[in-house]
């Protein structure tokens, strides 16, 4: 299975070295994710694109591709996502190091707080940016950042920095610190250690995080329309506009194909890059992070954490301020109003009911995402090569697919028994799980790959069955990644709006839907209630992420 190799090197891994998971177990691990992908993604999206090309459209597909405006939009969509990704990596790496390698009071809270923008409505981020720009005098005169590409980039960084902090940070935390220490002892400078040891080892996680961030920015919708203003258009906003506002399914289908082609190219490339970047390095089971020792380290950690939180929490401050602003002063009236429904108005239930709906949906969505994503990860790393590659790239594609393509696809594809799911209550958690699965996989796959083969061999030599190896070696290491992924899937589900809004039951709203409905009517008091509901959602998100991580930490096995 594995050739002997020098003890201190960190050789490139190749898949074939693994004890492959074949036979019926392997088939089972692959079958469920494949079926999930086929039924809830490939079939609906295929159907809606086919519908666009059925010749009933007013527009000829070729004319869309021949239009230079289409390619301008493709170019803008791609470069703004690429630049957003680079900026997010740059902004997130210091914080990832701070929370991965340093123990300090409130570390768990910081890890949870970075998730807050995930559930923050775009409107609030937009308003926060606007307020900040005008305070700093950047909203007119010589420098105007309001409704500019800069505003989009900044908003993308705020939204996505959590991905870098948690995906890269999670991996960094289990990276064997002794490798770096040995290098230091042998006389390498900090810079050399980073370049020669740390960075190469982090590469798989960097690719994972970069892929997710890129796909999010590639398909971002609210940020482009609300923060970017009416002059900015991306493939995502154009697909929405043609499909929903113009009822022009032909143009929308062409654009959806272009989007799909770009996303598939990207995920195939990045999945290959991530796979070849893996170095087996003897993942440690969460070695204890150390308290920063030198004054310099302390200052570094404090500065990084301080700046990151300040930027992330400005929107939260705006949200809290607005939720407390009652009349000409401040008070809790908007919070009190959350417990009962106005006899008339935008909501059919007391606003707090939306919190319960959101939580139930999020639990269901997270459960589905963990099962599908967990099985898929095992199949990717240990299963047959072809199936593994298809799953590895395929399950990422939904993250880069427009909500309209998927939503409309479900409408026309899953419309007959036994799969008439259009108005089923299950469709919402399923749609959210489709977005949650990539998080689970991007957290688990790199870890599974990097588990030191020698550990498995040692266990096997000592007589452990392959199942027992998986249970005793792989699972404990992966558990941490699963917990991080569960936190993500949960937050994504709590904040998810696009897919949920497609066929919403207004009498069973989730929090984002309830906020949207409250904001959609004139009247300062409804607006205040929406903001108060946003604060409640934020608190719940932070608490849930903390709980999920604590549950995982309780499971830690000694090393």
């Amino acid at each position: 299975m594995d050739e002997g190799r020098p003890a201190l090197s960190a050789p490139r891994a190749s898949r074939e070295q693994h004890a492959a998971l074949r036979g019926w177990r392997g088939a089972l691990a692959a079958a469920l994710p494949l079926a999930f992908f086929a039924v809830f993604f490939a079939y609906p999206v295929g159907s809606v694109i086919a519908r666009g090309f059925d010749g009933r459209g007013r527009v000829h597909p070729g004319s869309v591709l021949g239009d230079s405006a289409t390619w301008r939009i493709v170019w803008f969509t791609t470069w703004q996502a690429a630049v957003s990704t680079l900026l997010t990596l740059a902004a997130g790496l210091p914080a990832a190091w701070a929370v991965a390698r340093n123990d300090f009071r409130g570390r768990a809270l910081v890890r949870a707080l970075v998730m807050v923008p995930f559930v923050m409505p775009t409107v609030v981020i937009g308003a926060a940016l606007r307020t900040t720009f005008s305070r700093l005098g950047l909203d007119g005169g010589r420098v105007n950042l309001d409704q500019s590409i800069w505003a989009i980039l900044i908003a993308h960084v705020i939204f996505n920095v959590a991905v870098v902090v948690r995906v890269v940070g999670g991996y960094w935390a289990v990276l064997d610190v002794r490798l770096e220490e040995s290098a230091r002892v042998l006389g390498a400078t900090r810079r050399t250690v980073w370049r020669e040891v740390t960075f190469p080892h982090l590469k798989p996680a960097l690719w994972s995080a970069a892929t997710i961030v890129f796909l999010f920015c590639f398909t971002s919708f609210g940020v482009i329309l609300v923060v970017g203003g009416p002059r900015q258009a991306t493939l995502e906003t154009e697909i929405w506009r043609y499909a929903t506002q113009r009822t022009d399914f032909a143009t929308a289908a062409v654009l959806a194909c272009v989007q799909l082609a770009l996303v598939v190219t990207l995920v195939v490339a990045s999945s290959r890059a991530e796979r070849t970047a893996v170095q087996r390095f003897g993942l440690r089971q969460a070695p204890r992070a150390r308290r920063p020792r030198t004054a310099r380290d302390k200052a570094c950690v404090a500065a990084i954490v301080g700046v990151t939180l300040a930027v992330l929490l400005i929107p939260l401050a705006v949200l809290v301020e607005r939720s407390l602003s009652v009349g000409d002063g401040y008070g809790f009236a908007h919070y009190r109003a959350l417990t009962h429904r106005d006899e008339r108005g935008a909501l059919f239930v007391p606003p707090l009911d939306a919190v319960r709906n959101s939580l139930v949906t999020a639990v269901e969505a997270t459960g589905i995402a963990l099962v599908i994503g967990g099985l898929a990860s095992v199949a990717v790393v240990h299963g047959r090569r072809l199936i593994g590659r298809v799953l590895d790239a395929g399950l990422m594609v939904p993250l880069g697919t427009s909500a309209v393509t998927l939503g409309f696809g479900i409408l026309i594809a899953l419309d007959e028994p036994p799969l008439d799911l259009r108005t089923s209550p299950f469709i919402v958690p399923i749609a959210q799980a489709v977005v949650g699965v990539p998080f689970v996989m991007r957290a688990v796959v790199p870890m599974l790959r990097a588990v030191d083969e020698r550990l498995r061999e040692a266990a096997a030599v000592l007589g452990a069955s392959p199942d027992r190896v998986r249970r005793e070696i792989d699972l404990p290491i992966v558990r941490r990644a699963l917990a991080a992924a569960a936190g993500f899937a949960f937050a994504v589900s709590l904040g998810e709006f696009g897919a949920t809004a497609f066929l919403a039951r207004p009498d069973r709203p989730t929090v984002p839907i309830a906020m949207y409905r409250l904001l959609g009517q004139p009247g300062a008091s409804l607006r205040g209630q929406a903001m108060a509901l946003g604060v409640v959602l934020t608190l719940i998100t932070v608490m849930c992420v903390l709980l999920i991580e604590r549950a995982q930490r309780g499971q830690r096995v000694g090393w």
Binding site: G126, R344, F408, L411, A504, R505
Partner: protein, 375 residues
Amino acid sequence: MNRPSSRPRAIFFLVFVALVSMSLTACGDDADPQAAQCLSKPVATPIDANKVAATDTKGTEITLVTHDSFAVSDGVLAEFTKQTGITVKLLSSGDAGQMVSQAVLTAGNPVADVMFGIDNTLLCRGLLANLFTPYTSSALAEVPDSLELDPFHRVSPIDVGDVCLNYAKAAYATNAAPTSLDDLTTASFKDAFVTENPETSSPGLAFLLATVAKYGDPGFEAYWKKLRANGVEVASGWDQAYNESFGGGKGPRTVVTSYATSPAADLMFADPPVSAPTIGVVEDSCFRQIEFAGVLAGTKHPEAAAKLVDFLLSTAFQEDIPANMFVFPANSKASLPKEFASTVRLVDKPLTLDPTQIEAKRDDWTERWTKAVLR
């Protein structure tokens, strides 16, 4: 149950449609020739009103699909259930544009039985896709003829409202408030006006149509170029325009595209409460929006669906409309809540355009608007 007035009106419409289609062909650009036929003869067999009355609908469950601004008070739909034994499941699917697009996509196998909220700007799109089964409700007798745009009753008018310019009264305590569309191009309203992008917002589209109705085609382009020179701000949606830039009457922009009823909403939900509206309406700027409901073709419960249309037209539902959706009931017998009666009204001479013309030219207009204002 054909009402006596529908036949002459049908003929009038056919003549009108013919004229419009001729004029459009004359223009010869990318106008859609199909659009002109949207008000011609329907294909589906009408639902028989006598059969509806005779059908026992007890225990039926039907689905009402609406846009996401739909709202109704507690207990109103329960009243319908009490009368007919039918339970109503609500489904909302985005804004009106998205709702109609979804219905076009699923035509023949609809997600719901009745649709509420398709308006005159989208009407032809829905009719051309054969979304609805004709049904002539007896309650239409109480609805003014001017609201009934479809001579075959595939859809019934449920409510009517105006999209108008609003201004913050506080900002115009000393200098003159705007009174016309032309005012916005003058120096006193430099950097004062915020409106919505017609490509992404329904009031934004309505206001673009108002300018087309007022200045004609291509006159509207020149008007928008003047607005642009005068510093018009464009927001993606109503919320950003009204709540952020206009600040509900307290923001940096002092004129906004919103609804004729915004003063009433302001009065009902103001914080702190106010005794008189702080928002004014420019009556010469209003575009008329009529919202319709119709039985979706392909429903398995046509009779129950027809009963729901009857109910939507009844005073029980009609009197609940204003305070929930801030539009006026189509049924002339329905009375208005006091906040409405005292503060707002439908304007006497709204700007209007024919639905066939809107369907034929809308993409062309919004594209030219984008070039004139955003590029």
